[in-house]
Symmetry: C2
Subunit: 378 residues, 2 copies
């Protein structure tokens, strides 16, 4: 194997595939990145066995020569070291050559590195995913869906299925749900092009977070294909494969109240900032609990106190308060996460008494629902 | 105590004094910041008992009213919490009022915080430093001196005096030296205005690092006053007091060779980058050692190898190599620290054989000397 490549383009590719490489792997070959060179270009693969990211750099991109292939071939090189070497090389192009016994030479300007690679045939093969159950979504929409749901997955492995986001395709609609059993985030999307039949998969939160980092904010299409064990996201020249979580996702629809006793419309950003301030007093305690109380004149009061430190209260003018008076306590963190996911828009908060879960919606987008289970203090 | 203050100006002041406050203190009152309000303005003090930072915000600055004093007084408030509260308040001004039992009210817009302060008379008094042994230095020069020396102090408490920088005033010259016994950094300055008599103090590296953060890059004067136990740096409205280190600083002058056998002139930045690359192979091993060898044609080769990972070599064209051939090994980190302190200028490196310390100077400034003790590998 021998080729020359533009260093900035190789770095871009490495930047993508490095996201899948974990230093904690127990499989030595997975500390490496696989490089495969053909006349057409360079394929890079990184994996931690749960997530695999693959990117392809074409020999010629937009009329510019990126790679000059002298001899085709493949090698696995230690990922972190290879990435650091490429990053620190002195010139804008780099020559990579593999000689016998996987001895790999990296040459740039007057700088010459010799590292020992690994047998490429030992690198795990990618799962096979057929294209027949594939659907398409714009990258920016996919990114929103992830942002609005993934934060609510459970951080605890005690119920592994809750560490993922439940994606369900049913009746021409995609419904994404995440919950840690104290709060829930749900996003519904009606897609123009959905696959036939029904799907129900649970995608690890970690995979969705990595996906978010490698897709752009454009409306570029992302191809999504699923099997019973894997999901593949494909955009531009980058592919992300993720293992799916096993087990049945709980039926969350019963958690969401169908009737409400108090409805408050207000500015989400103002509410966020008041909760943020109130949580300064709350978070010293273990629970980080703030209170919300409705007052006459369409005002809500946000307050918190800590016997050791002090107390805080703040009045917020709402657009409207309809229905019964409400006094409720909840986690400041959950509330701030939910408001952040609603992106600072005007929000509608609906309560069914101090003991029942309450929900938040965006005034501008009915597709997003955030639910929070209150804490009993009153 | 009751006053109103522009929030951005209070934050600026807090930003300075917070640098002296440590969360690790064993003296509860030092987790706080002292606020003292008089007609003239607000004085803020933070301290970890080694370093004390004080700043004064005038009631009127450049014709703008910063503070409206309603009642003079003082209080100590928990530093981190107070800073966070002020940072998150909703409006551009804030009212602070202390009522009985140190109950402190912080009011901004519709937000109202109540925190419990501490007795201000319990806050330690500042050391008394007379002005008679005071000298002046421009802020940017002071910052350079710190940058060029402080990195070389010892991180180990086994010889406490080496954790500081030795400042010596003698024969109208200020000489600053830091060493961890493996390398040494020395800066000489001839100041226009030096104090009479001789000084020899050791300033903790930590204090100098904090000093660097609070002084600007301007040529604004900094007033420096010393006693046998304390040093005071005073610039604008900010004062930094630091305890001095006890004990005799070793005589380092004998460490520096007086004769050299090889002199290399070269670009410091090119050398830095080559060492940086070579250290990629070196730092996996415990020692992080790279080699430098002179070759014919005014070339030096930088190289490194690690049996497990691989090897690297790079040739650098120098301006000149005079004297004997040299092959020497040293810590990549020490070399990079020294070159960074010389600020990327052209450098002169002078060797006295592979076993003796070698020195680096800037071509542009003879006042800075960096010394490194080599490692015996040849």
């Amino acid at each position: 194997m021998k080729f020359e490549i533009m260093r900035h383009r190789l770095l871009e590719g490495l930047n993508d595939v490095m996201k899948a490489v974990s230093s904690k792997t127990t499989t030595p070959i997975l500390t490496g990145i696989k490089l495969e060179v053909t006349e057409d270009g360079l394929r890079l693969t990184g994996s931690d066995s749960d997530i695999t990211i693959q990117t392809f750099i074409k020999s010629e991109e937009n009329g510019d020569q990126m790679i000059r292939v002298i001899e085709e071939g493949s090698i696995v090189v230690q990922a972190r070291m290879f990435n650091e070497i490429i990053r620190k090389l002195p010139t804008s192009d780099v020559e990579i050559e593999v000689k016998e016994n996987y001895h790999t030479h990296i040459h740039s300007g007057k700088s010459e590195f010799h590292i020992i690679g690994l047998e490429p045939s030992e690198y795990p093969l990618l799962p096979e995913i057929q294209d027949d159950r594939q659907f398409i979504m714009p990258a920016d929409l996919l990114k929103s869906i992830v942002r609005e749901t993934v934060f609510a997955v459970s951080p605890s492995e005690s119920r592994p299925v809750l560490t993922g986001v439940h994606w369900q395709v049913k009746n021409g609609e995609l419904v994404c749900v995440a919950t840690d059993s104290h709060r829930l985030a749900r996003r519904k999307v009606i897609l123009v092009q959905l696959p036939e039949g029904e799907y129900s998969v649970v995608i690890p939160g970690k995979s969705l977070n990595e996906l978010s980092k490698i897709i752009g904010d454009s409306s570029e299409p992302v191809y999504i294909a699923m099997t019973s064990q894997q999901v593949l996201f494909k955009t531009g020249n980058v592919l992300l494969y993720s293992r799916l979580l096993e087990g049945n996702y709980p039926d969350t629809s019963r958690l969401i109240p169908t009737e409400y006793k108090t409805t408050v419309s207000m500015n989400g950003k103002v509410l966020f900032q008041a909760i943020d301030r109130a949580s300064l007093m709350a978070r010293e305690e273990r629970n980080n609990i703030v209170r919300l109380s409705s007052i006459e004149g369409n005002i809500v009061e946000i307050s918190s106190s800590s016997p050791e430190i002090g107390e805080v209260e703040e009045e917020i003018q709402t657009t409207s308060i309809e229905g019964e008076e409400i006094k409720i306590s909840f986690s400041a963190k959950y509330m701030m996460d939910a408001l952040r996911a609603l992106d600072g828009h005007d929000v509608i908060v609906q309560f069914t008494g101090a003991m029942r879960p309450f929900i938040l919606n965006s005034v501008h987008d009915e597709g997003v629902l955030q639910l929070i289970v209150p804490v009993r203090t009153y």
